[in-house]
Symmetry: C4
Subunit: 257 residues, 4 copies
């Protein structure tokens, strides 16, 4: 494999579709949100994106087979006010600079083929959330941005970087005359964060006027909280062991002096 | 040299051949197993694979000449139940992401040329083996997988990565309508492990219905055990010296206080 | 995006234009100097340079939109003794070796299109300046070099490297029959240095015979001095805290012995 | 610049020329030896090799100009038993794997153009030399190897790697039906080593039957010895200061206990 390519599974007619992208990134916010949507909406497989810029390993799947790392395009019809949805999620992002630009270009080629006029990219931004994680919005188009702000997203301070595919798609979309919006959920970022994903989905639903049941995401959030608490306990214990060890060491030093 | 290419030495007619790949990797399991097979079966040279993605050095050979790092295709006729075997082993794997995909593609081009319908890749996975090293199998095809499991391989837990050429060949084989199986021997991985290679060869023999003498591999295993023991002794000695040094240091500190 | 490309905004007629390049680098000297010139001269936008060799993020702009990292070509007419000026500044330099050569080549393609016969690149070189920062000049052409030396620049010792676009443009200019001059301002280099930029601008003005008001740059210099002083104070304080902490530690050790 | 290319200065007729390559590497042995030869033989400039795989900086030259990093082809007529010589030396080697293969390929293209039938590459190998540094030879051709061994070179143990252009040219030469020999001088390798270069030149002279005055190289060797001695003294002094500092620290600790 020498080039990034998209292998289409089927060809469908889609009404004025919106592309929602959520590849793995900070706190896995984009991937969790997009995958949750595809499951709740029973989205159907559309195409796969393969690339020599993904890491060079394969993953064992449930049936003892393997799969090449790839991006997954899915679709769901008749939801967002008469508009259809295309989703893109996947295993990993590109590993090189040139690969990142190349894959973003291949995604936009595919979007153009389906006459996509709006792309929504989802990601996380690092911040200790106080209550419910906030959602920041930036867009290539002021009207689209306003709709996001009306749906409870916040404006981003100027100068901030948006790293990876979620950012590049916005930067490159203008060359294709496609509008793009990026929604970033507040996250500590050091582990998968379904809570940030939920905040993003709430903004997205309000904006696009559809409704999916978020109950199952709440279960993931509870599970995630339990893991964080357990990690904190282990950390505390480790710390208290370390103190104990230091005390013993000090006593030993006292003794030998 | 700008591109990966295969330089063919001869052209042969091969009956429904199986390609067995074992490039250097964890514990050198694939390389040891594949090279052992080619020696026991007196396999003949078929072709060499050169690539600008291999490391940029050459190796001095026995006659005071040098050889470019490369992959080696060999073949052996009339063994596996009327099917012939092609082997691929070599010096190193590609050093870049894009190189890994490129070389895996070149291997599959060559396999297609010989109408290969089954590829077996061999590698190691890191685990402290308790008794005889176990062998894990994954495959693009459930029938092939079953044959490996019947031959005493274990199924792999889902989600595990298979890194490098052994994995990529499986991931990319489906684009060529080639079935592929990966056999991974349990290994500590920090030095060449003929024991893991033996376990893999036992599975492979049962599966493909041929028999090679493994006595010489047993000699390598004994030699390898001796090296490991010597390393452990050196490590112990080093540790006891270090303790002695710390004690002396402590006494010195006691003295100066 | 697979290739570096220049997207032209307008086409203008320029009289024997000089290209002045100042991309981010050591002490941001080139970028500060070039941007200051474009603002004072109210330079107009000419073209943008995009490349898959820039880092793979976008930056949020003031209106809540984003922009892809890029280079900015601007122009200003009727200033340098009947000659027009083209400016190139931008967000970042290329991130890979091959990218650096590629982008320098694209800049020279653009320069050729406008029949540029002289390129001036601006950067910094690391040295603790004693009074006003000195400016070092090197050039592909001895006459151009002499004009810079007469304008108060110093000759560079031989053997010094000039890293990045500022250097490569000089190295590659000869293949296009373009003369090039590099002006490097003395800078500590660890933070944006408007003072070094001012020294370079003074040389440039004398050389090319134009005059811009440098008052606003003086304000930046004052602000920069305040920041440096504040950093020194913080550093001193940190140091005195650290001493205090060590003393406390020592007392504790004394106590336990 | 997107590709490696050779810019020819003149075209000459050369009699069955031998290409002698010495790019910078371990101990700078190849570069020192080759440059010394070109100076003693008053070799003339033939061509330059430019590449986007060299580091992305330029070097200031004596006249206040700059030069792009490049390789230098020179030639000398009527020396080696009726055969002419082509030399290749330069500033640096390629910085990436693919760049190394690419540049080696470009060198061989140029060699083919001049119908070169023998290439001699020069480098260093790391070893503490006891008396005069030894020279190791490897070759693609057993007759050429024998001539080197008769000229006082030693055979190399099998399995050793030869890194970089000096090695790759040997590995790739066979695809062009060119014989190649690599001469490696024993060197500590941590600084330019004219002594190792001298040993290589002595072998080369005996082999090819020409004679150059090595007196000036002896001066470089003396200078190099003085530098090494000075470095040893500085190192000793640094060590004795460090011991003093440790003693003071210990006394302080003694005091506070």
């Amino acid at each position: 494999m020498k080039r990034t390519f998209v292998k289409e599974r089927i060809t469908v007619e889609l009404q004025n579709p919106i592309l929602i992208e959520g590849l793995p990134g900070l706190g896995m916010v984009g991937r969790i949100a997009t995958r949750y949507l595809t499951k709740q909406l029973k989205a159907k497989k559309l195409a796969k994106l393969y690339s020599p810029h993904f890491p060079y390993y394969v993953l064992v799947n449930k049936k003892g087979g393997v799969r090449l790392l790839h991006g997954n395009f899915l679709f769901s019809k008749g939801l967002a006010g008469g508009r259809d949805l295309i989703f893109l999620t996947g295993d990993r992002q590109a590993q090189t600079i040139e690969g990142q630009y190349d894959i973003a270009g291949a995604i936009l080629d595919f979007a153009e083929k389906y006459h996509v006029k709006l792309i929504v990219t989802i990601g996380g931004y690092r911040k200790e959330p106080k209550e419910a994680p906030k959602v920041v919005a930036v867009s290539t188009d002021s009207q689209v941005l306003n709709r996001a702000l009306e749906a409870n997203a916040m404006a981003s301070p100027s100068g901030n970087p948006i790293v990876g595919t979620a950012g590049l798609l916005l930067g490159l979309a203008r060359f294709r005359n496609i509008n793009a919006l990026c929604l970033l959920g507040e996250t500590r970022g050091y582990m998968p964060d379904p809570n940030a994903a939920k905040s993003v989905l709430q903004v997205l639903q309000r904006m696009l006027g559809f409704k999916v049941d978020l109950t199952r995401l709440d279960e993931e959030i509870e599970e995630s909280k339990r893991i964080v608490e357990r990690m904190h306990q282990i950390e505390k214990q480790r710390e208290s062991y370390a103190q104990e060890a230091r005390r013993t060491e000090e006593e030993r030093i006292t003794y030998i002096s």
